[in-house]
């Protein structure tokens, strides 16, 4: 354990003292400031927009009324699908979205909650930028970039160091290979999460200053219409756990790609899958492939948020089971491969 702790602290020191890490962090920071400024401007611009927009929970409709509106929209949609007016495509998530909205509204109605005082970490038809909308958007931006950073770091410190020969120098020290891999893995995870959490806290404070703070409880709904209302800070904590799981999957997946293909593959494959796979699939086949996301990291987002299950019809439990098995396979391959690998 002492060897692991030493190696871990050294790896952390190495990453946090790297100029590239800070350049990346500053880029994310600047981007967040830019986005914040844009939201602020757009928020001001849309103040005067038509408030009769359908489904505007900020405009006084009750939960029961909104549920009726969504039900009517769902019925109309399903009728159009049935008579062939609308050709339902694989990427069409309208039904799931409307069902989620209905579930939220029914939940609020049943529990006597004022839906206008709640937030979903995604708007319920609101055109206004609420503080919580801002917070959720910033978290998605921050952790989106943290994920990219975790891919770059993991590719660099494992596959990259193996290729450039510096791993050889490290392994001539009295340290087990598995210990070194665990230390590097842990350091990449720590660096990515630290960046994500620090920036999240910074922009929570920015949000509080510019958008009147975090005010409302949060409605969480998953792809299976399970609804819960929780304290906003608890929601942020849950989201952080969620992002931690995603980061861990990303790091493990990046090392896995490096185990199979070497340094270039470790960087390119996860980045391409993460950034472009869904877009390319949607463009070419008019479908999204959350299945790919499941194997990198974002499949979780589909199941635990209102977007949809990672694979159509897949339950949340089977999705978790598949993820767990896949994680175990990646971990085993990574450690066995690292243990047996001949270094340059």
């Amino acid at each position: 354990m002492k060897g692991l702790a030493t190696a871990y602290s050294l790896e952390c020191k190495k990453i946090f003292s790297a100029r590239a890490f800070w350049i990346f962090a500053v880029i994310i920071l600047l981007l967040c400031i830019l986005v914040t400024a844009s939201f602020r401007t757009i928020g001001n611009l849309i103040e005067g927009m038509d408030e009769s927009a359908v489904g505007g929970s900020d405009y006084g409709a009750s939960a029961a009324q909104l549920a009726e509106i969504y039900r009517a929209q769902l019925d109309e949609y399903l009728a159009q699908v049935a008579d062939g007016t609308i050709e339902r495509k694989p990427s069409d998530t309208t039904e799931t979205y409307l069902k989620n909205m209905i579930a939220i509204c029914e939940y609020c109605d049943e529990h006597g909650l004022d839906i206008s005082k709640l937030n979903t970490f995604g708007s319920i038809g609101s055109l206004k930028m609420s503080p919580d909308d801002y917070a959720s958007m910033m978290m998605q931006i921050i952790f989106g970039f943290s994920t990219i950073m975790s891919i770059v770091l993991a590719a660099r410190v494992v596959a990259g160091e193996t290729e450039d020969g510096t791993m050889r120098m490290q392994l001539t020290r009295p340290i087990k290979r598995s210990t070194l891999l665990t230390a590097k893995h842990g350091a990449v995870f720590t660096a990515s999460m630290t960046l994500g959490i620090v920036l999240t806290v910074v922009f929570m404070i920015v949000g509080a200053l510019f958008f009147d703070g975090i005010s409302r409880d949060v409605v969480l709904v998953d792809a299976y219409q399970n609804v819960a209302v929780i304290n906003p800070y608890a929601a942020i904590f849950i989201l952080l756990l969620f992002f931690a799981a995603m980061t861990e999957l990303t790091v493990q997946f990046t090392i896995f790609c490096g185990s199979l293909t070497g340094g270039t593959g470790a960087l390119v494959i996860p980045l391409v899958l993460y950034l472009f796979a869904d877009t390319v699939a949607a463009f070419l086949y008019d479908t999204y492939i959350p299945f790919v996301g499941l194997f990198t990291n974002m499949g979780w987002a589909g199941a635990l948020t209102p977007q949809g299950a990672p694979i159509n019809g897949m339950s949340i439990y089977s999705m978790l089971a598949v993820t767990a098995v896949w994680f175990a396979v990646m971990t085993a391959v990574n450690y066995i491969s690292f243990e047996k690998r001949d270094l340059k």
Partner: protein, 331 residues
Amino acid sequence: MQDFSESFSVADAKNPSTDANPYLCIRGVSKVFRKGIARWTGKGNGITALDDVSLTVNRGEIFGLLGPNGAGKSTLIKVVTGIVVPDKGSVSLDGIDLKTDKVGFMSQVGAQIETPVFFNKRSGWWNLCYLADLQGGLPEQRLKDIVELVGLTKRINSRVGTYSMGMRQRLGLAQAIMHKPSLLILDEPINGLDPDGIAQIRDLILRLRNEYGTTVLFSSHILGEMQTLCDRVAFIAKGKVVAVKTRAEIERGLGDVAVLSVICDEPNRAAALVTEKFGFRTKVQGTVLYVEVKGGNTADINKTLIENGISVVSFSVKTRTLEEMYKELTK
């Protein structure tokens, strides 16, 4: 100090029990480099880097590995340092098996393998501290002393990316010896060094052995260095150890074979005489007779020629060089 005058054959080397004080034992190590799926399955064709290599290095000995490029020297050193995993065989140091107790094994080893690779964007000092911490931590003064010892004090705070090959070698040596290892493994340690640097490394190796009893395993292409430094040398070719010679054996071996050049008035008759009486191979070119002498007394040949009425104008002996011996053993 050990008495290394005892001769060792390859067969002896395979049996550590015949060695005086075995410290590093390499037993039956084989390695085939495969590609693709075969790398995972361990079956199928590939490049055989090591084929049933067995060696022992005695405590306090300077042991050299000599062989042409691609012979397997570096692979053997990488196996001993645990960065290449052998298909078969075992490596142990003072009874500690590398496979089962890598931490115990490597805590006694300092290694510099091929051209040392460091984090180029960091300073030499940063790299040294990083590796020292990975080792478990060393006092700062110790590191400063080592830096001074290898002659890098002026440039230690510069980025390694700006170092010359010789400076990298020096830093490589510093990281290898900073924790006072009992076994020092050096792979081509004098590549890229100027003559002063080579002399410093040579002196350092001898000093480590003489003052601290450090055992040294090193490979080099520079035959003269091997002959000067090593107590024993293993000749490696095509992944096999073809011979293990002590320094005394090498010196004796070099003297054993010589080429005799004789300028005389009847070279053909002289050739026939030498072949008949001594059984040596001869060759005549003009008035010069060449004789390949193996373990004989050249003075006897001269005497025989004169006794048989052959007028000898010139008589010169050229002994076999280490290079010739190396070529002969590794061809």
